[in-house]
């Protein structure tokens, strides 16, 4: 995905190919400028004006038994048999997006207070999320569905909470209200962009547990964007690490965290503080500007393991093991 800037076109999302199955959680890890948020906005059709998208993003239709995939790649079209009702998200019109967005793919954000309407009662907002996709629904049914959605999001005393305004709810309850709104229409994929970053750690734990429960019960695909590797360990089955717009490592979350193969992932782990007092090792330097990327591997200037061939060309994503791949010449 490309954006025009004063210094020319930049690619915040560059050759990103990912897959998420039903009931699976993919953690997307990256720091500022990695492209992780842009990627998620691309999946929701919420890109800024002027953005250009190449590649495909296949949302599998209901007809497919088990596999609900999102696959997005920059390059020639995918190989493989298509099942009947899959949609390519990169080619949807705005009218088609209105059906998909909120109903088949939903998103929750970091700051629930800015996503919730401060002058509308919480219950009404959940109802609005439902009636947007089911305009003919009766008022009674609407109310019932909204309360059910709130209960499903573990919002205790949903009838009482429905009458309250967002400012009367704590951060954790607001995030549950967001989850209720997001899941009210039964989407198959939930994109969560740093949903617990602004929450207290005890509340974060509850929200993560809630998302795990919902993922299992609803067979929901979950794309969880975070910068916190501890959270990845808690919630993700698989993880993809992004740097300067590209995926630099991906694989099973347990394996990537235990044996990271890309120097950036290794650097992130070494820089992540833990409860044990230990040696916190920063990564020297800073994230490159997308307008001034080095010719080869984007991480090379900061890499302690760099070799002469690193700056020649961007390395391919290579398999490091059955369940892990990294974009590094050292693999």
């Amino acid at each position: 995905m490309e954006l025009p800037t004063a210094q020319g076109w930049v690619r915040p999302v560059n050759e990103v190919s990912l897959q998420i199955g039903a009931g699976e959680c993919l953690g997307l890890v990256g720091e500022s400028g990695s492209g992780k948020t842009m990627f998620s906005l691309a999946l929701m059709g919420l890109l800024p004006l002027g953005a250009r998208v190449n590649g495909d993003a296949w949302l599998e239709g209901e007809a497919t038994a088990d596999n609900k995939k999102i696959q997005n790649q920059d390059g020639p079209g995918r190989v493989g048999a298509a099942t009947s009702t899959r949609k390519n998200l990169t080619t949807l019109t705005e009218a088609e997006w209105r059906v998909v967005r909120g109903q088949q793919i939903a998103m929750i954000f970091q700051e629930p207070m800015t996503s919730l309407n401060p002058v509308m009662r919480v219950g009404e907002q959940v109802e609005e999320a439902i009636s947007a996709h089911q305009p003919k629904i009766s008022k009674a049914m609407l109310r019932e569905r909204a309360i059910a959605a709130m209960r499903q999001a573990a919002l205790g005393e949903p009838e009482r909470r429905a009458e309250q305004y967002p400012h009367q709810l704590s951060g954790g309850l607001r995030q549950r209200a967001m989850i209720a709104m997001a899941l009210a229409s039964g989407p198959r994929l939930l994109i969560a962009d740093e949903p617990t970053t602004a929450l207290d750690v005890t509340v974060q734990k509850e929200i993560l547990q809630l998302l795990q429960k919902l993922r299992r019960e609803l067979r929901l695909g979950l794309l969880f964007i975070t910068h916190d590797l501890g959270v990845v360990a808690q919630i993700a089955d698989r993880v993809a690490v992004m740097y300067a717009g590209r995926i630099v490592e991906e694989g099973s979350a347990a394996q990537v965290l235990a044996t990271p193969r890309h120097p950036y992932t290794q650097g992130l782990l070494a820089a992540s503080p833990r409860l044990e007092r230990g040696k916190l090792t920063p990564i020297p330097g800073s994230v490159p500007q997308l307008t001034a990327l080095p010719p080869g591997c984007a991480f090379e200037p900061r890499c302690s393991l760099r070799r002469s061939d690193c700056s020649i060309a961007v390395p391919e994503l290579r398999k490091a093991s059955a369940q892990q791949a990294a974009r590094c010449v050292l693999i």
Partner: protein
């Protein structure tokens, strides 16, 4: 650490009148800080941890009198800060400085970085000429890892981590004894936060600083604290040696906080 007390606070209290929050129980006032006392020993890093609303930021600001306490005393440099005013207070404040959480809000966007860092000198060292001030500012900026050309640039031209460094340079330019850091790395990316924490540790040794470090993050605090105070609802519920508290907390709330931290599995 030599056991000498740099700052002692007793009975610090602050409450606010409440309006219209129907879901909070209790009377018409909200007590943010409830009779808190503490010692800060020279050379240590005292971390104050707690969740949102516990009062830790209010407490931090009270120590500097950025917020006026309703009651209590703060002994610093042989004087009760709460009894000082005007020139005496200004003099006393040279010894204590603050680093703020939000690298975007804590720097005046209309001032050049050189002016921002040199401003405390302009206030407290009026005898210095502008050139002299800028020289000192330049040296401090270099010490925190920024280049000389930063002097003439504006805050918006810098990243979050760089702005935090500017805030640190500003805080240290008067060579304070005590630095209160209010969530200094919470808004930063992981690798940038690690750089800033390392910088703070280096500067502590080099400048002989004592830190009061406010944070909601136990893992961050674990890296840097000598002692930890756990705060809840305006009070300290546990206070002790950092390693001891992390390994063998005595209070249930502390245990709950530790248990809630999502851990990266040990390799």
């Amino acid at each position: 650490m030599n056991g000498e007390k740099l700052l002692t606070a007793r009975g610090l209290t602050k409450s606010y009148a409440r309006s219209g929050a129907e879901d909070l129980a209790g009377g018409a006032r909200f007590v943010a800080v409830d009779g808190v006392g503490l010692h800060v020993y020279t050379g240590e890093t005292l971390a104050i941890v707690g969740e949102s609303g516990c009062g830790k930021t209010t407490l931090a600001r009270m120590l500097l009198r950025l917020i006026e306490p309703d009651a209590g005393e703060i002994q610093f440099g042989g004087q009760d800060l709460l009894r000082l005013s005007g020139e005496e207070l200004r003099q006393a404040r040279r010894g204590m400085q603050m680093i703020f959480q939000d690298p975007f809000a804590s720097l005046n966007p209309r001032m050049r970085v050189g002016e921002i860092v040199a401003e405390p000198l302009a206030i407290h060292e009026p005898k210095l000429s502008k050139n002299e001030r800028m020289e000192v500012a330049e040296a401090m900026l270099q010490r925190v890892g920024l280049e000389s050309n930063a002097l003439k640039r504006y805050p918006h031209e810098f990243s979050g981590g760089q702005r935090q460094r500017i805030g640190i340079a500003r805080a240290l330019i008067l060579r304070p004894k005590l630095v209160i850091a209010d969530e200094p790395v919470s808004a930063l990316d992981v690798s940038v936060a690690a750089q800033v924490l390392l910088l703070l540790q280096e500067l502590q040794g080099e400048f002989g600083l004592t830190y009061v470090f406010i944070s909601h993050s136990l893992p961050v605090v674990a890296q840097i604290a000598t002692r930890i105070a756990v705060m809840r609802a305006g009070k300290f519920i546990e206070l002790g040696d950092a390693e001891q508290l992390l390994r063998q907390p005595t209070q249930q709330y502390t245990k709950d906080l530790l248990a809630a931290v999502p851990e990266i599995p040990v390799r």
